[in-house]
């Protein structure tokens, strides 16, 4: 469903993505792991059009976001890009809830404004999503009144309200303590059970091992290994082992 081919991206002289390719199929959960600075966030941000790639192909559901023409990325026209935006969801490490809107308003904002959904329908759907993440009794709370774990669950519910085909997570639990991490991971496990397609950048190896269908190990802007968890965690590749088990040669 999602195809990224040979994606390159530099910030000035710094090459951050050095030919990343990744395919994600429907209903798959892909965990993206790798050391700090390996380009995981940048890759997700390129998929969500928060950064522009220098070259490479990105396709979603048969729609082309960009492809390489004369060694440079050529982006589709804006109407097509918009369609792709609507098929992608993104959950940030820092939640990025809208502080001036309460939980319910955060959830209905995009359905009302972007999808032009009738208000009562948007509210009904928002409550449904809130019950999924276990926060039905918090709809009148403002973001500053929520714990980090609650805020992240609201952010997930907000993304779900747009019915994305793929949901991307960039270290969704890195700002949380272990207890709050658990409640967010529980929500993500439920989503995986409901066959949500997900790409999750994470340092939670436990989660990657249990929930992911595939684990992708990135280093230095390249994909080093891409395999089912049992295979990847038993990898013989020294770089992979060094990252996962902290082994030194």
């Amino acid at each position: 469903m999602l195809i990224a081919k040979d994606v390159h991206k530099s910030f000035g002289a710094l090459t951050v993505l050095d030919g990343v390719s990744l395919e994600v199929h429907k209903k798959e959960v892909v965990a993206l792991i790798g050391p700090s600075g390996s380009g995981k966030s940048t890759f997700l941000r390129c998929l969500n059009q928060l950064e522009k790639v220098d070259s490479g192909t990105i396709e979603l559901d048969g729609l082309t976001m960009c492809r390489t023409v004369n060694k440079k990325a050529e982006y589709a026209k804006s109407s097509e890009l918009r369609q792709i935006t609507l098929k992608m969801g993104m959950v940030f490490q820092s939640f990025n809830l809208f502080p001036h809107k309460n939980v319910l308003e955060n959830l209905i904002e995009a359905p009302l404004v972007v999808l032009k959904m009738p208000r009562d329908k948007a509210i009904l759907q928002a409550r449904h999503m809130l019950s999924k993440v276990g926060l039905l009794d918090h709809e009148k709370h403002y973001p500053y009144q929520l714990s980090g774990g609650q805020a992240q669950r609201v952010a997930i519910a907000r993304a779900l309200c747009m019915h994305p085909e793929i949901l991307c997570f960039d270290e969704p639990t890195s700002a949380l303590d272990p207890l709050l991490t658990k409640e967010v991971l529980a929500v993500m496990r439920d989503l995986a059970k409901e066959e949500m397609t997900m790409i999750v950048v994470t340092h939670e190896m436990e989660f990657a091992r249990e929930v992911a269908d595939r684990v992708v190990f990135m280093e230095g802007g390249r994909v080093i290994e891409d395999a089912p968890p049992e295979e990847l965690f038993a990898s013989q590749n020294p770089r992979t082992r060094r990252f996962i088990y902290g082994e030194t040669e």
Partner: protein, 237 residues
Amino acid sequence: MQFRIFTDPEALFNLIKTLATGIMPTIRIFVFTILLSIPLGIMLAAGRVSKYRVLRTPISVYIYIIRSTPLMLQLLFSYFLISSLEWSPVLQLIFGDKRSQFPIRCIVYMFSLNYAAYFAEIFRGGIQSIHEGQREAAKVLGLTRVQSFFRIQLPQIFKTVMPSLTNEFVTLVKDTSIAKVISVSLDNRTILHVAEKQVSALASIEPYILVLIFFLVFNGVVEQGCKLIERSMNYYR
């Protein structure tokens, strides 16, 4: 100092009645200046932080010129410059009739151009105070840049800049007195225009005392109004 008028109820009543004719024109300058300068200030601020140098540079120069020169001089200069021009249909469209409407419009426009520069700097700070993540969250949810600006960023910007706006509003109330350097048509005379006539006609400074009181009350109301607005945005952090 003798209070000839304050001790004579009838004279005092007549003076107050006369000065009162200047209240609405003064308030009008204040209100119209704010209505024009805030949107203009927001636009200038947006241009000031844009990625296009062709927008940034002229706006910076504009803000520098406006903030470095006196408003009174700007007003006199624009007034005499424009009144020296041949009254073309374009000028007629912008400033109205040269004798009856031009002076007051020139005042309001120049005030707005001046205050917009100050507001632009304030809003620029406000725009930059918004976390990049807010824009990004709005974008991945599918909001357009315009929707994101007006629905997500602007409400938060107003909350952060409101204390600075209050300062400018208070200053603007006092700056309406600068309009006095331009002669305006009868029904546009500000309270200071009127008071000055009275001071010389009555050979007394008592009208000025009443004008002082007017400004105290006017600014008291403005400050309370701003406090209410600030409080209405206190429901979140």
